[in-house]
Subunit: 215 residues, 2 copies
């Protein structure tokens, strides 16, 4: 699919080149997590990687191009998220467990990729199609299987058929994403981080099954 790694001017990158390229990506990722996106400069990334700005431009058209690369790597990792839904049960108490694990797993993934997801989210919100697509890949890795699960429940009469499964799944995933992005906000509302899961999980359960969590 991706073929070989190429430089901006079309050369094929060899072993050494790929190492340099990767080091630049790593340093950029590091920079993104320590300074505002707007202030990330090519020269800083290059300096941190022990190389020169010119080298950076050998491998990436600009900062955004390199960020996209990092984001795509992350998007690939996001396939693991569908394991949070696939083969899980939503019936009774096990349903409550499923929704707790979903919340936990999703928040953990977001926390792990905090910095890059922030930039992806901004790019998507600004209407950049490439970032938008990446964000959708990540969210879909959960939203798609979740929508399927809801449809299945609806078929079995265990969920409200009047609700659009895709819309419900999307809303709930949005909820998780925004909670993940703004954990700090909750703290300032006087909500401890450990209270977050017990709050989100019932909401998810409620949204999907339309029933209160069993005790």
């Amino acid at each position: 699919m991706t073929g070989q790694v190429r430089t901006v001017d079309g050369r094929v990158a060899g072993r050494r080149g790929q190492e340099t390229r990767q080091k630049l990506l790593d340093c950029l990722r590091e920079m993104l997590s320590t300074s505002p996106y707007r202030d990330v400069k090519v020269i800083d990334v290059a300096r941190m990687a022990g190389t020169s700005p010119a080298t950076f431009y050998q491998y990436f058209p600009d900062v955004e191009g390199a960020v996209l690369e990092i984001a795509e790597e992350m998007a690939k990792d996001s396939v693991e998220l569908k394991e949070l839904i696939d083969g899980k049960s939503w019936a009774g108490k096990s349903g409550a467990t499923t929704s707790e694990e979903l919340v936990d797993g999703f928040l953990a993934f977001w926390r792990k990729n905090d910095a890059i997801l922030r930039v992806v989210t901004l790019g998507a919100a600004e209407g950049d199609k490439r970032f938008f697509k990446i964000r959708m890949t990540v969210l879909n890795s959960v939203a798609k299987p979740l929508a399927d699960a809801i449809k299945e429940l609806q078929a079995k009469g265990q969920a409200d058929k009047a609700q659009d499964a895709a819309a419900v799944a999307g809303s709930l995933i949005s909820l998780l994403a925004s909670a993940a992005e703004h954990q700090k906000a909750f703290t300032s509302w006087g909500v401890k981080v450990k209270d977050l899961k017990p709050t989100l999980a019932p909401l998810v359960y409620l949204g999907i099954t339309g029933k209160k969590v069993p005790r």
Copy 2:
């Protein structure tokens, strides 16, 4: 409270100065809604306002400073949002209406201030205290009265007392905020924008009362 408007070097701005300042803010707002935040340059804003970059720096320390100004204006407007909750009833059918109006009003506000809220959200996510505070002001204008409403319901035994009212209110407002920010995402899930309200409103109702929407 704010006293007089002052230039960066301490002079008091007069009529003409305030006009220029305002024109710069207006142009910046315009730029934010048409190009990526990262690419907004002082020189472009100044050019659009028919003045010079030096003038911009008379009134604002940098682009971020000016953005903060715009954001603060918007935060003031957000007090109107509390009308979406205050004095509304959550009982029975009127509760369903309340939650629909809440969703509608909130989404409309977010849409109206789309561009600036995007930047505020990014700044907050990156840990900038000033942006964070502004975001909290906006969200609190709904979350606070909502939490109060939930507490009242709990006292009357019409809502689950085991739930932390502030946490529930926060989660629901987060849900609305993220849905507002990513309306495009829903479209790509095959969810029409008009389906969004009928999906979100029951979720809100459900989250607050713990009951299914009455028909």
